[in-house]
């Protein structure tokens, strides 16, 4: 359980969460924002594994992509709610 929470927290405070949110802020298209966040999560996990798929754990990859998608969607929601352009 702690392992899971730690992985989620690491991703929220890492590239998937912060860059995902930032990219989400750049668009009003929810699907695009979520996709950008998901890609960041994917690239982050692969990057930390040295782009070696054998070193990538499925759970880590799943959490990173999920956090990225949610962060991107949140960024998009902030853009829609908080701006007029």
């Amino acid at each position: 359980m702690l392992d899971l929470l730690g992985t989620i927290a690491g991703n929220i405070l890492g590239l998937a969460g912060i860059l995902g949110l930032t990219l989400g802020l750049a668009t009003r298209n929810l699907i695009l924002a979520a996709a950008l966040g998901g890609i960041v999560g994917l690239v982050e996990t692969l990057g930390f594994a040295g782009f070696d798929m054998a070193s990538v754990e499925f759970m880590d990859l799943f959490i990173a992509v999920a956090v990225g998608i949610l962060a991107g969607a949140l960024g998009c929601a902030i853009r829609i709610k908080g701006t007029t352009v």
């Binding site: 929470l5 730690g6 927290a9 890492g14």
Partner: protein, 241 residues
Amino acid sequence: MTQSNSQEPRPGLIRRIWNWFWTPTAVLSVGFTLVVGFLAGILFWGGFHWSMEMTNTEEFCTGCHTMETNLGEYRETIHYNNHSGVRAICSDCHVPKEWNHKVKAKVMAVKDIYHELMGTIDTPEKYEDHRLKMASQTWKKMKQSDSRECRNCHNFDYMDFTIQETRAAKEHQRAIDNSMTCIDCHQGIAHNLPEGYAEEYKRVVEELSMETGSQQHKDAVAQANAIRGYLNPSVKETPGG
């Protein structure tokens, strides 16, 4: 005079704060908002990072009563006092350097506070009862990460085998040849070993090989046992190493 029915009731405090938060500002320029946001971001991130680094100090780690036993053991080892004057403190071995791994370790360390409050290991007897389990958890993490924290300072690539003891050079070469990792041989390098550690380490590695389906882990245990036998043929398992 009657009151108009169309007059809406005043929103609650939370709703008013929410509306204020999302209302475009009419008095702040974009530049001002960006500069203030940028400075606030630096202050927040700097403070966050500083706080996290504070939790990496030896004083912080050993501030709890339950850490006294392992602190005493660590102070008897080469990682505390040595000829070169280089010291590895708790966080050097137990906290990853990479950001995502570090945050994960910090979140998982919340359990230490819980056990300190519950008094899980607050007497020497309780500590000994839990020593094997605690060691086992650490070995599993280190084996999984290819002894990542050891390799912050030590690396096979940086070793000059010609100035190592013959025995050490030979075994390090053997470890490279067999894809072994530091913890395969160096359990108990900073804390006393519990009774039955060799069997427990073997169990941990077998568990990992079941999870990953890797034969490499099993081979590493066999090689580690062979090295132990070579280093000290008369004693196969020595607690307190």
